[in-house]
């Protein structure tokens, strides 16, 4: 399979009153055509910043370096006008909180058909409305003919997320970036939405980047996974290998921190807290919490390397 998206050595920094924050510091991952890549990490790991960088939506203060190759074209070299044509057309995005992600003063139909009209010259309003209804059917919204005239506040959380997905699918994108799409939803609704995403991915054959903090969601939905910690990708491999044979101490710790259904065995949490990402960081960013830490870890910056085929790890002990 060929790569649809390749992120190479991506760095994003933000200025703050206490100095520059290195929110993302040399991140590499790729998304193949037709696959679901999971990016998993805790808050502050940089997973959302990665997705916003792909969309070109990092605010003006943020400084972005590296390469984001989409169909072999570097998105970071594109002008704002070019990016605008790609956003919502070739790459689209859905967000964490469906309650606040829809504009409250426009109808659902209006917001979805706007996406269609923006990227398809020559489509009439009527055609756009028909397409909107079709999309809403696709995402499983009951009686879409009536619901397109409703405002977002009339929709439940699950229905809003369906509407958001419909909007994202409006132009049949090649890549869908889903940033914690089910975090704000109840479990039974989460199950519905994840099922829907998988189904749509199969039907339309696009690629999805699924950003989440939930290893369970990753295991059930994704083909490959990148684990992020403190602005780095610390491990990247296919989903089976990750859970069967995790290499990075952070990945291991994360899996051990998780209560497992049916087991009441004592959890082994990761000690301490993630570091703050100011400029003066040296060595491995997980060192302060790592049970296997050595002097080398504190001194040298690790790089990510392939330990076995398709399994990338950012750790001295593993890479040697």
């Amino acid at each position: 399979m060929e790569n649809l998206l390749e992120v190479i050595d991506l760095k994003v920094t933000f200025p703050t009153s206490k100095g520059r924050i290195r929110a993302i510091d040399g991140v590499n991952f790729k998304v193949k055509k037709g696959e679901i890549l999971g990016i998993v990490g805790e808050s502050g790991s940089g997973k959302s910043i990665s997705s916003l960088s792909i969309m070109g939506l990092i605010s003006d203060q943020g400084q972005v370096e590296g390469k984001i190759l989409f169909n072999d074209e570097n998105l970071l070299n594109k002008t704002e006008v070019e990016m605008r044509k790609i956003r919502g057309d070739k790459i689209s995005m859905i967000f964490q909180d469906p309650m606040s992600s829809l504009n409250p003063v426009f109808t659902i139909g209006n917001q979805i058909s706007e996406a269609i009209l923006l990227h398809n010259k020559g489509v009439t309003k009527k055609e756009a409305v028909e397409k909107t209804i079709e999309l809403l059917k696709l995402v499983g919204l009951p009686s879409p003919e009536q619901r397109i005239h409703d405002y977002p506040h009339k929709f439940s959380g699950g229905m809003r997320q369906r509407a958001m997905i419909a909007m994202a699918l409006a132009c049949e994108p090649e890549l869908l970036v889903a940033d914690e799409p089910t975090t704000a939803l109840d479990v039974t609704i989460q199950a519905q939405i994840l099922e829907l995403l998988k189904e749509i991915q199969m039907k339309l054959g696009m690629s999805i980047i699924l950003i989440t903090h939930d290893l369970g969601v990753v295991a059930e939905t994704c083909h490959r996974v990148a684990v992020m910690y403190a602005g780095h990708v610390v491990e990247e491999t296919d989903v089976y290998t990750l859970f069967a044979n995790p290499k990075h101490p952070y990945t291991k710790g994360l899996i051990n921190s998780l209560p497992k259904l049916g087991s009441r065995e004592r959890l082994t949490p990761i000690q301490g807290q993630p570091p703050q990402l100011y400029d003066d960081l040296t060595g491995c960013r997980f060192a302060s919490r790592c049970p296997f830490v050595s002097a080398e870890c504190l001194e040298n910056e690790q790089v990510i390397a392939e330990v076995t085929k398709g399994h990338f790890v950012r750790c001295h002990k593993e890479v040697g």
Binding site: G88, S100, N103, P104, F106, E114
Partner: protein, 314 residues
């Protein structure tokens, strides 16, 4: 929508009763004997009795209150103590000048406030934004009567560009009318422009930070759509509230501006009535101003609901 408007109208009733009660009580609260104040202690007993009769002071206050309310509903607020004419007639005779003044002032302030407010929000941290902040700060701090006086001094007296005051009815001579209105309307509108500008700026900034604006960007909307369709309609909601409140300042300010520019409006009528202790006239002007304020805010509430579906379907 209809239900919403009906609900709003019903909510007005206690407020209207409250306003009229307070206006009625204004006279009853005057310390000392009103008749003494009005006629002096040397007046003849007959004259005193006649005035008492006119003001209804010979009845218990509760009865007077209900009589007054009953008459008020029929727009009968009694006669002017000084001229003997029904006060409501005096009021309506003076209304056009005030309406024109307030209307023009509002138009000016919206035309200045909204575009510059939007501009300041979009070009956040640029020099335009800073200029807007400073100008709007000055605008709310400058006393209207002083600004008016200064404008008369420089534009009318020194440069002789516009008349320093006076009022020509619009139908009589539209050009002279407008010439005479420019300075007062500008003076009155200054503080409101400043407030509208500040509110538009901060409301736009607030909206631009919302999640749904990120959705719009992710959709690939053009900057124009982004600002004016997605952002402005949402930002308009708090701005409208402020406009509603500012109408109150506009009406209050009209009293002062009419005095400065010698315009024959309701505000000046109220002042004269106060100077002459013509209490029925004071009552009617205060009552009508408040009524106008309340009705404008009702209108704002309705526009509000028109823009914001969450309120419409409440």
């Amino acid at each position: 929508m209809f239900k919403y408007i009906m609900k709003r109208l019903c909510m007005l009733i206690p407020v209207l009763i409250g306003i009229s009660t307070i206006v009625f009580l204004l006279i009853s609260l005057i310390p000392g004997d009103v008749v003494d104040i009005l006629l002096g202690t040397s007046a003849t007993p007959e004259a005193r009795e006649a005035l008492r009769e006119n003001l209804g002071l010979n009845k218990p206050v509760v009865i007077r209150y209900f009589e007054w309310m009953f008459n008020a509903i029929q727009l009968d607020f009694g006669e002017s103590i000084r001229t003997g004419k029904p006060v409501i007639e005096e009021f309506f005779a003076r209304l056009p000048a005030t309406l024109q003044l307030a209307g023009l002032a509002m138009a000016i302030s919206l035309l200045i406030g909204i575009p510059f407010g939007i501009l300041a929000a979009i070009k956040k941290d640029s020099w335009i934004s800073h200029v807007v902040s400073v100008v709007s700060m000055l605008g709310v701090s400058i006393p209207a009567f002083w600004l008016g006086t200064m404008l008369i001094l420089f534009i009318s007296l020194q440069l002789r560009l516009l008349p320093p005051g006076g009022f020509v009815p619009f139908l009589e001579n539209p050009i002279e009318n407008l010439k005479g209105m420019i300075l007062p309307a500008f003076t009155l509108g200054t503080s409101m422009s400043a407030v509208v500008m500040r509110m538009t700026r901060s409301a736009m900034l607030e909206v631009l930070g919302q999640d749904y604006m990120k959705t719009a960007l992710a959709k690939g909307v053009t900057p124009k759509l982004y600002r004016y369709k997605h952002a402005f309609k949402n930002a308009l909601i708090p701005v409208l509230t402020v406009i509603g409140i500012q109408i109150g300042y506009l009406l209050g300010g009209a009293v002062i501006i009419e005095e400065v520019f010698a315009l024959p409006g309701v505000g000046r009528l109220a002042l004269q009535a106060i100077y002459q202790r013509d209490y029925p006239l004071v009552q009617v002007t205060v009552l009508m101003f408040s009524l106008g304020f309340v009705l404008v805010n009702l209108l704002v509430d309705i526009i509000y609901a028109y823009i914001d579906p969450r309120i419409r379907y409440e």
